[in-house]
Structures are given as C-alpha cells and as structure tokens.
Amino acid sequence: MAVAAVSPKSILPLACGFDFIAARCSFSRLAAVLCSRHVAVDRIDPSTITRLFVSESESNPSFVTRNQFLIYRLFSLSGLVPVGAFLVVHLLTNASVLAGPGAFQSRVDLIHSLGPLLVPIEWVFIFLPMLFHATVGFAIIAGGLPNVGSYPYAGNVRYTLQRATGMIVFAFIIWHLIQLHWMGAALGGGQFDPHHASSSAAVALQPAIVGILYAVGIVSAVFHLSNGLWTLGITWGLWTSPAAMRRASWVSIVVGVLLGGVGLGALVGMRNVNVEDAKVIEDRMEGVKRMLEGQPAAGSPAAGVRAAPQPISNPSPAASTTGVSTTGI
C-alpha cells in the first residue's frame, strides 16, 4: 500500500490520533529495560524516576540491556525473514483463489501434506518469530513519543504509521488466528477447514464488517512490511545517501502496491467464491486424494475421477460463473 505516495496531510488525523494512543500505552516497565525510555509521560514524580534507575544502575546490566543492539537487529531481520517472507507467501497462496477454488485447494493441500510436521514448522518459522517481532515492537512503540502533530514530515508520518500498523496487525493476527486457525476452535472460531479451503474461508469472510476488517488488516500488514523494508535498508546500511534512500523508497512503494494488490485480490477472491460450487470441487478433490491414498472416497466418488487431474488448467464452469478472472496469478 503506497502511503508515501499519498499526501502526508491526508493521513494526519489518523497519525495524530496515534500520538494519543502511543503516549498513553503502559508498557513502561518493559520499555524502560528494552528501550531505555526514561520519561514518556509529562509529569512523573522525579523520585519515581530516580528509584527506577537506581535499581538498575546498582545491579548488573541485564541480558536484554547488554544485547540491545543484537536484539534490535534480530527484530529488524525477523520482520523480513521469516515474518515478512511468510506474509508474501501467505498472500500469494490465498490469491490463488482467483484462479478458482481448486487452485487454492491444491495449494492448501500442498501445505497440509506436511502432516504432523506442520505444527512445529508453524511455530518455529511463523508464530515464534512473529511473537518475538511483536514483543520487541511493542517495547519500541512504548518507548517512543510520536510527534507527527508538531513535525508533519513524510518520514515522520511513515514512522508513526509503522507503529500504528504494527499494533493493528498484531490485533488483527490474533483475531485472524482465532477466527480461522484450528487453534481458535476452542474459542468458538477455527472456521477454516483445510479440506474445504475456499468454501470455509468464503463463509468466514462473508460478513461485511469482517471483510472491512480484513481489508484494514491486509493493508496494514503490507504497509508495515514495505515500509519496514525501507527502514531495514537504512538500519543495516544498505542505502545511505538521501538519493539512495529516495530510490529505495520508490522500490518499497512498488513492492507495497503489488503486494497490496495481491492481498486485497485474495480477499475479494475469497469473498466472491461461490460456496456451493466450491464445495463440489473441494469434495471432488478430497475424493481423489483419498483414492490415491487408498482410502474409500467420501461424498460423490464418481465425480472426482474426471475432474481431479487438471483442476487448474481446466476451470470448471462453476468457477467461471463466480465472475472472477482466472488469469493473472
């Protein structure tokens, strides 16, 4: 999403609002250790501050303090790999629904072919890095004092939005997991059925408010990643001159626009899936899979035999009736 291309003024109200939120976040304990934040609120009894630091200065510096640089660099890196990379793969996978429920289903099947390995892989490469990124990120947010109201420069607006989108994305991911991931079943969610990928997702995403929230979540995540890409380049010293930074910022805008297109395309694609038709396809594919695995097929065994071999290149008439273009992804 190309925020930098939008006039900074147009997003000021949002950013100013964020001033308010961030200044009142109570992460001070964590922040004081991780971020060396001293006073984030206007009026604090000086003795409180003194106490806070006496306790630290008199003890040995903590592990976190000693390794602040390393932690922040890992934080920066984790945003790109694996978290950022996962986002790209995830959005591209989801966007395959634009090629029909079958296309999406076959990709989901591919992922789930990992079987019992899927859970540890999810945790090691996705959830834990994400949690690490989020934990450090919240500490950073709590340690900063956004001031875009006083200094409404484009860079500062991006700084503020990076933090705002970080928080939005975090909340969104929690909700997203509860709603769709099997782990959320206990909380009344877990609506995603890997055997009926498109149809179950389409049902879950159908309410308008859900669609809107997903759009916000996707746009925020994409902005966060593409802007993060730009700051990462500065942090690690890839682009150093103002001119190089400007060029890099265009690259990040292009990346953002493309990825945003993919993400929103996936959302639209999911919502536009014809649930009944999709179910037919998914069941057929399920049947084929079971057959190949030597298990008795459930549902309509006869139907799957013809359609299954070429679900992508031979879109079913049902898929084309959804009106979704099947080209492009």
Binding site: F69, Y153, I234, T235
Partner: protein
C-alpha cells in the same frame, strides 16, 4: 503578508508601525519540579525583529500583557548568529533556534500570536532554559575527538582530499543545539534529581549513567562517523562503534528522519546514521567471526 494586532484606534486605517503590537505566549516554569504556566506578553513591533529581540523587550518591560509585574523570562542565547547552538526552543510548537526565528515569518504562520516553549526532551531549569548536559555527555560516550599524542609539534596533519573535506565539513558544523534530539520521537527525557544526601560527584555519576541508558541521538552518531572518517580519528574507530552499538545506541533510531528535517545546519544526519548502521553491521559480523 503581515497581520499584526493593533493597540486601539482601529479607525485610523494606516496605523503606524510603532503602534503595532506582537502578542507572545510563553510557557514559564519557575524552577525544576514546579508547575508550568502560560504568560502572555505584548511587545511593540519593530522591523527585522526576531524571537531574541522579543525576549529582550519582555525582559526590559518586566510586565505581562495585563500589566502585572512579572520577572523577566529566562532564556539561553549567545552568538545570535546561529553558530553557538544556545537558543534552541519551541517556537510555535517546533524546535528551532530563536535567533533565526523572524517575527514577520512567524506572524505569517500564525497572525494571532507567537508561542514560546522550552524544549521538552530536557529538564527545564527555568522558563525557556533547559539543561542540555546529556548532549555533551553523548559526545564523551562516542569519543568525539581525534586521539592525538598531545599538543606538541609533530608536523602537519594527514593529507585529506577535497572530497573528504567536503564530506567532513558539514558534520563538523554541528553546534550541539539539540534540535535533532527534541524532534526525535525516539529520544525521551531523562531527568534525574539530586538526593539530599548525595554528593555532587555521586549525583554526576548517577546522572551520567542514566543518560547512557537513553538514546544517544543523531548528533552523536554523526560525530562518531565524522571522527571515524578522519585518518587519525579512525584509529579508535572500534571504540566508537562499540559505543554506538551499546545500550541506547544506533539501534534506537526509528528512522522518522525528523532530525535531518529540523537541523538548523542542514547536516546530513540520516546519511550519518545509515553509514553508522552499515559500519555497525560490518563490525558486528566481523566481531562474530573474529571471536
């Protein structure tokens, strides 16, 4: 276009310049730990006035707009040519040097009044005077000097190409004014109060330790890069890199890039920061493999 409130006699269309009044709102604070309060002043307009001359007039009048007798507003200044770095304050909400804050321009921004506040990232000493010791402490931390053997004659310094000089010179014009720190959303205030039973030395030590936990700031990172590019200065480049990658170091930068936008000397601070990032990357990796 300049609009200035007129004293009275609105009927006379062409009010004389001497009748014009500039309204000023100052955020005052009598001493550290005390409540701050707004005070309004009205100063006769003069051409080519700046915020310093406004404050000079306020000091001379010693009364507020409503005629109350008040103590003059305290503020820091020295050269009035924007090279000493003393007179940083928040003028109409933005950090800048008061000496180059021209009244005519400020009234274009806001014809109603001019607002003066002390910097918010440093402890207020009184009114517009703040304690910027932390700025200088950061220079100690990054060893912002050339480690010469001494001041005795050893012939001339190293030869330096004009390109190198042109890179170094802008960084060397940093006057430690603190604008980059004030505008930085990652830089937060550190106010340590001396305890009753504490000696000056102990307090100083404790305060420096508190400073060192906070973000070092764009100016110090830039100075580290300046000296790391000097042929003699780079002999302790590792020590500087160690300093800027320790707690509160370069990792604290959030890339808001306000520093470079508000720097009165237009120092390419973000370039210094990015270069420091690159140097830190290389240094950290090298350290990892040299271990």
């Amino acid at each position: 276009m300049i609009q200035i409130a007129e004293k009275s006699d609105a009927a006379s269309a062409g009010a004389k310049e001497s009748d014009r009044i500039v309204r000023v709102r100052v955020l005052r604070q009598d001493a550290p730990g005390q409540e701050s309060y707004w005070e309004r002043h009205a100063v006769p307009y003069e051409p080519t006035m700046n915020v310093i001359s406004i404050l000079q007039r306020i000091a001379a009048m010693a009364q507020s707009q409503d005629g109350r007798h008040v103590a003059p507003v305290a503020w820091d200044c020295n050269c009035l040519e924007e090279v000493c770095g003393s007179c940083t304050m928040l003028v109409n909400g933005r950090t800048r040097m008061a000496c180059t804050a021209l009244v005519d321009k400020l009234l274009e921004e806001n014809p109603e009044e001019i607002e003066l506040k002390p910097m918010s990232k440093f402890p207020v000493v009184r009114d517009l005077v703040v304690d910027r010791q932390r700025v200088f402490r950061a220079l100690e931390r990054v060893k912002a000097w050339v480690p010469v053997d001494g001041s005795y004659d050893h012939g001339s310094g190293p030869r330096i190409s004009p390109d190198e000089q042109e890179e170094a010179y802008p960084l060397s014009t940093c006057m430690s004014c603190g604008c980059c720190l004030e505008a930085c959303p990652q830089y937060t205030k550190s106010e340590v109060v001396q305890r009753d039973d504490e000696s000056a030395e102990d307090f100083d030590k404790r305060r420096k330790a508190a400073f060192d936990r906070g973000f070092i700031g764009a100016h110090a990172i830039s100075q580290a890069m300046l000296f790391n590019s000097h042929p003699t200065g780079k002999m302790i480049a590792d020590e500087r890199l160690k300093a800027i990658t320790s707690q509160g170091g370069i990792q604290m930068c959030g890339n808001a890039q306000n520093c470079v936008a508000v720097c009165p000397k237009h120092i390419p601070l973000t370039r210094s920061i990015a270069r420091a990032g690159r140097a830190a990357t290389v240094w950290a990796i090298k350290k990892l493999f040299d271990r």
